[in-house]
Subunit: 164 residues, 2 copies
């Protein structure tokens, strides 16, 4: 395969791909910046809070956080340490498995999430969802689901991130 001639993209493919890259870059930077400016959390930290808030006892094992966000365990350790220092998360020994660590959202984390969620969802609407019609979004959803399916099929380790 790698010896074969490269199959370049045609003009419209190239243009759609470029629109995707540029739009995604701008969008993610913007959503991250809005959360940082208004609430002092990054998009990644916000997403950890969301996952905790959706879990029983507002608690998740470190490994579950890592898997659901497709982050390394090490990265989660560092990030959660910072969030713990900031009072958003509390760590405790996991019941049943002495190796395990439970991360639990504190009340302060919950309070912050309420405010940040408003900012985030408003941003997602303003910069993304409200900008095109439903059919186009449905098409985008189909494409991106196909992308995930292909990558998961090829690399089963990715299975965790898909949730539900």
């Amino acid at each position: 395969m790698s010896a074969a001639e490269t199959q370049w993209l045609d003009e419209s493919q190239q243009s759609d791909w470029r629109a995707y890259i540029v739009g995604t870059t701008l969008l993610m930077d913007t959503l991250d910046r809005e959360l940082r400016q208004e609430h002092g959390v990054s998009l990644g930290e916000y997403e950890i809070l969301v996952r905790l808030s959706e879990s029983p006892e507002r608690t998740l094992r470190m490994a579950q956080i890592a898997e659901s966000m497709q982050h390394s365990r090490s990265r989660v350790t560092h990030t959660v340490s910072r969030m713990e220092k900031a009072g958003l998360i509390r760590r405790s020994a996991a019941a049943g498995d002495k190796r395990g660590v439970d991360a639990t959202m504190t009340d302060a984390g919950w309070e912050l999430l309420q405010l940040a969620a408003h900012t985030h969802v408003t941003g997602v609407r303003r910069h993304f969802v409200d900008l095109a019609d439903r059919d186009d979004f449905a098409a985008l959803g189909r494409v991106m689901n196909a992308v995930s399916d292909q990558l998961v099929a090829e690399h089963p380790d990715f299975d965790d991130i898909r949730g539900h």
Copy 2:
């Protein structure tokens, strides 16, 4: 605005948004990993090489690189320094403006780009372009162009990244 009730996303919007986030995360990680493993460059470094290769004399001012990639000048300084150390880029004083610095792709950079471009385009096809039909991609392109347009209109500093 920030006092108003949050307008949450409905089910299908949430599902399309989630598909977009998950698919994008997996896709970018994969494209980056493929380039690193096969050629030892990150996706960001690769994109700098692409921009240089498309420029007259294979040369660009530092600021132009920064603008076209929506990176800070500082970041470009650091990245180009690394790439210079790796022999992919050469720096020289810009003609006409003594403050300026020209970054020029070396022959080694060009050679690397030839190989890396094959890997990259093949990956983009395999993991993205070849996975859905043209109409869905066109819709995705429309949506992402609308996203860029909205963000640029709101924050004109972003104008640079859009190119063409």
